[in-house]
């Protein structure tokens, strides 16, 4: 690898870290603006003013905001996300297994949806403006247009209630056999796949169609290549950058946007955890989950940027 690429990649990563810092400040500021008082929430309405003052001093709530921010940030960097107000449990420990669950669900959904979307995109280009293209585009649009909770309930109704193939409630626990775990998440993964499929497929189609106008596609055609090998060998490599970008955005959505799907299927992931604690006004948990979501989002976008840089032969092989 040559130096211009390294430099660009380093720039992107540095920018990402800076962005994450800014987001952390925003999250902290946002939760500060919210009405209510942590000491009050812990001790309840009946607390005496003296007890409240003591607890505030103990929690360091009397310090100026920026000191509390850096204290919180310092904790985050060392892996200490604080304690949940509602349960008094360490947030990092309770998030641990849930984050893993969410990532597993997202990973499975991605494993199905990304290759499927790209393949459908390629097929749509190959048979563009024909019935195959229209069918693929139409179905993909329809599946995106349905809200995810609607898709979720449809899946539950048919696969869990009527035909009883998959469980309607995705209970997973530690030490669960892998295949059972897969079966448990089949429905939420399907729902997620249907939601993200269309955008990736349509972007693949558009990006490749754009490249199909190029002179080098004509060159390939005049070499006698078949339509599908032209698309695969000559168009796809040049359409990679926009496709990666939209894929990464959708992967980020798979991790961050699962809230509704997790709640429908009662899946013990990050989304459900977040919803529970928003209801309980548990500010430290909301902060921690918000920060993790932001980190996932920013990381995936950095990966997309870096992948697009590496996909560009002009940057990979400078003159």
């Amino acid at each position: 690898m040559s130096s211009p690429i390294l430099k660009l990649v380093a720039q992107r990563i540095a920018l990402g870290i800076l962005l994450l810092l800014a987001v952390s400040a925003l999250i902290f500021a946002g939760t500060q603006v919210l009405p209510g008082d942590v000491a009050q929430s812990i001790l309840g309405q009946a607390a005496t003013p003296a007890a409240l003052a003591n607890l505030r001093a103990e929690l360091g709530l009397n310090d100026p905001a920026y000191i509390r921010y850096f204290r919180w940030l310092g904790g985050v960097v060392t892996g200490d996300l604080g304690t949940a107000l509602s349960s008094g449990q360490d947030i990092a420990t309770s998030i641990g297994s849930r984050l893993w669950n969410t990532l597993f669900l997202a990973f499975c959904a991605a494993l199905v949806s990304v290759p499927l979307a790209i393949l459908l995109g390629l097929l749509a280009v190959r048979y563009r403006n024909g019935w195959v293209d229209k069918l693929i585009s139409g179905l993909a649009l329809a599946s995106t247009s349905f809200p995810e909770f609607f898709i979720g309930y449809l899946l539950v109704y048919f696969f869990a209630v009527k035909w009883q193939i998959f469980p309607g409630i995705s209970t997973v626990y530690e030490g669960m056999p892998f295949l059972e775990r897969l079966q448990a998440i089949a429905l939420p993964a399907t729902a997620l796949t249907l939601v993200v499929l269309a955008q990736m497929m349509r972007m693949t189609r558009a990006a490749i169609l754009n490249v199909m106008q190029s002179a080098y596609v004509e060159t390939a055609e005049l070499k006698g290549l078949s339509a599908f090998s032209i698309i695969r060998k000559h168009a796809l490599p040049n359409a990679v950058a926009p496709i990666i970008n939209v894929v990464m955005l959708n992967l980020a959505y798979l991790v961050v946007g699962v809230v509704v799907v997790e709640v429908i299927f009662v899946y013990p992931g990050m989304g459900q955890y977040l919803v529970d604690h928003v209801a309980k006004r548990d500010v430290p948990v909301v902060q921690a989950v918000g920060l993790i979501f932001a980190a996932v989002y920013i990381t995936l976008n950095i990966v997309a940027d870096v992948a697009s840089i590496i996909a560009n032969p002009r940057l990979r092989h400078p003159k």
């Binding site: 190029s214 002179a215 080098y216 004509e218 060159t219 390939a220 055609e221 005049l222 070499k223 006698g224 290549l225 078949s226 000559h234 490599p237 040049n238 032969p313 002009r314 092989h317 003159k319």
Partner: protein
């Protein structure tokens, strides 16, 4: 292979026999129902094995369309609706898609005008060069690569052993054009279609590529259709020439007959197109625009593209700036207009220094310097009518509105020899030459002292370009406007210039009145430039190559 041998046994037939070829397309004029238009009207041609036929004509003559029909290919929705294309004894139009795929890249190969666009930027050159050979099972990978390297050598590419490992963007335009020729030759086809293979190149590079192509054709014995609009170029490589116009055959004959004794009036016009007699004006006493010791650079001052340039422009005269691409011609224009503020040196106008930066110049200075560009169609807003395009500088500089403005627009349209009716048209409804005329009118509307013309005739057909040059000369007489005329075409320079600056790698290597610059003894570069301009003379190419004193910069 079997069918090819069978065809070879039937010795009587030519390699390619096109009979009554008719090609149509559907046009979608704005606001009207789609129309069927005929692009090629029943053209017939034959080509023997190992011979070269030049197809010549202006844009829209149907040259490329006919060339591509030999591969059964219609570019951009064009349909072959009649006639036969008989290749190696069989009608390829009857072979279906499978049959066409088998012959493309195997029996017939294609060399495009812009190799830079025709190579896939994502793959190494070697993979692309041998792709067709492997696809059609003509050789194993190792054999094909060996053959490719041999061809790279024959086409005198630098470092033939390793150039295939490079990506297209790592190789210059002239070299890419030769690699593309190697790509076409690699699968040992019977016929190659060369579609303007040197048009996008500098004259100094064109001559190398032309020589390489000629040698390759001779050594491999391949037949070729050579498509170009430049008769002087085609005269160097072809055995026969076919002149086309508006999709019809005008004249078809041996190369010598076409260029020496043309029988048709149109051919005659093509042969004698370049002659404009322009009497050189002696430089006046005081230049009104003076570029003094200008140095300019891109990339934050790291890449110096102009080195210590000094030239003068006199009122009502033309300074032509010539040189190959990358020599800094257009950058000089950018420095003069303030688009690229010079690092050192200054530009004086009417005896006072002009602000370096465009943003620091008052409106009056902006009005005095106008520009016309090479690509007229992208220099105009496609959603504005000709009237509002020409009217814009009238409003902006002089505050003309309403009827007053329209009257002036009509006057300007008259000056560029276009009628009043054009005011309501959109650029898409104009031809290339008309578009460039509108751009000229727009720059004239500001009543400038100097118009910078950046390759304004390069994208036009010779006859149309001729008309534009004559118009510019007439306007100069009437309006006393000066031109800074940037071009790589020496014929144009001879036609229009009063003084000439020859640029090479960011420096002015020769500068003075036209008659002095074009009189020997020359410096090495000017000599190369002058000797590289194709002449309509059989055998010119060999003579020119022999007489060269230096290599081109190869940009």
């Amino acid at each position: 292979m079997a069918d090819k041998k069978a065809a070879g046994n039937r010795k009587a037939g030519p390699l390619l026999d096109i009979r009554n070829l008719r090609i149509e397309a559907t046009a979608y004029p704005p606001g009207e129902p789609p129309q069927n238009i005929v692009i090629v009207h029943d053209v017939s041609l034959t080509l023997e094995k190992g011979k070269v036929l030049g197809l010549i004509g202006e844009s829209g003559a149907g040259k490329s369309t006919i060339g591509l029909s030999s591969m059964g290919y219609g570019r951009g929705g064009v349909r072959i609706t009649g006639g036969e294309v008989i290749l190696n004894g069989r009608d390829i139009l009857k072979g279906g898609k499978q049959g066409l795929r088998k012959l493309r890249g195997h029996e017939v190969c294609y060399v495009a005008q812009s190799a830079a666009a025709a190579f896939n930027p994502a793959h190494r050159l070697m993979d692309q060069v041998v792709e067709a050979t492997l696809l059609h099972g003509r050789a194993t990978r190792a054999e094909a690569e060996k053959r490719a390297i041999k061809l790279f050598k024959a086409l005198s590419l630098p470092d033939p052993e390793h150039i295939g490992e490079r990506f297209p963007h790592q190789v210059s335009g002239g070299q890419l054009q030769r690699v593309m020729t190697a790509m076409a030759l690699c699968s040992e086809p019977d016929l190659i279609v060369f579609d303007e293979p040197t048009t996008a190149l500098d004259v100094t590079t064109q001559i190398d590529v032309l020589a390489a192509i000629k040698v390759a054709i001779r050594e491999t014995g391949v037949a070729a259709l050579y498509i170009t609009h430049d008769l002087a170029v085609v005269a160097q490589v072809s055995d026969e020439i076919m002149v086309l116009r508006h999709g019809r055959l005008v004249e078809w004959g041996g190369t010598r007959q076409i260029i020496k004794e043309p029988r048709q009036e149109y051919t005659n016009a093509l042969v004698s197109v370049h002659e404009i007699n322009h009497e050189e004006k002696k430089p006046g006493r005081t230049p009104f625009l003076s570029v003094q010791n200008v140095t300019a650079a891109y990339g934050g001052g790291h890449i110096k593209v102009l080195k210590n340039i000094s030239v003068d422009i006199f009122p009502g005269q033309t300074l032509a700036v010539v040189g190959e691409s990358g020599s800094g011609k257009s950058t000089l224009a950018r420095a003069v207009t303030g688009l690229l503020p010079p690092q050192e040196g200054s530009v004086t106008f009417d005896g006072r220094p002009l602000a370096n930066r465009l943003a620091d110049r008052p409106k009056e200075d902006l009005r005095q310097l106008q520009m016309i560009y090479q690509m007229a169609d992208v220099a105009m807003n496609p959603r504005q009518t000709v009237g509002s395009i020409i009217g814009r500088p009238l409003e902006f500089y002089f505050g003309l509105r309403g009827r007053e403005r329209d009257a002036r627009v009509a006057e300007l349209l008259d000056k560029i020899e276009m009628g009043k009716g054009f005011a309501d048209r959109y650029p898409a409804e104009l031809s290339g030459g008309q578009k460039q005329r509108v751009c000229i009118a727009r720059s004239l509307a500001a009543k400038p002292k100097l118009i910078i013309c950046d390759e304004v005739t390069s994208a036009l057909d010779p006859l149309v370009a001729h008309g534009i040059l004559q118009l510019l000369l007439e306007l100069q007489k009437e309006e006393q406007v000066a031109y800074l005329f940037i071009t790589h075409d020496l014929a144009t320079v001879k036609a229009i210039a009063d003084s000439i600056a020859v640029m090479y790698r960011g420096e002015v290597v020769r500068y003075g009145p036209k008659s002095e610059v074009l009189t020997p003894p020359f410096d090495a570069y000017t000599d190369l430039l002058l000797s590289s301009v194709p002449e309509m003379e059989i055998g010119w190419l060999e003579k020119a190559i022999k007489g060269r004193r230096m290599e081109s910069a190869g940009n």
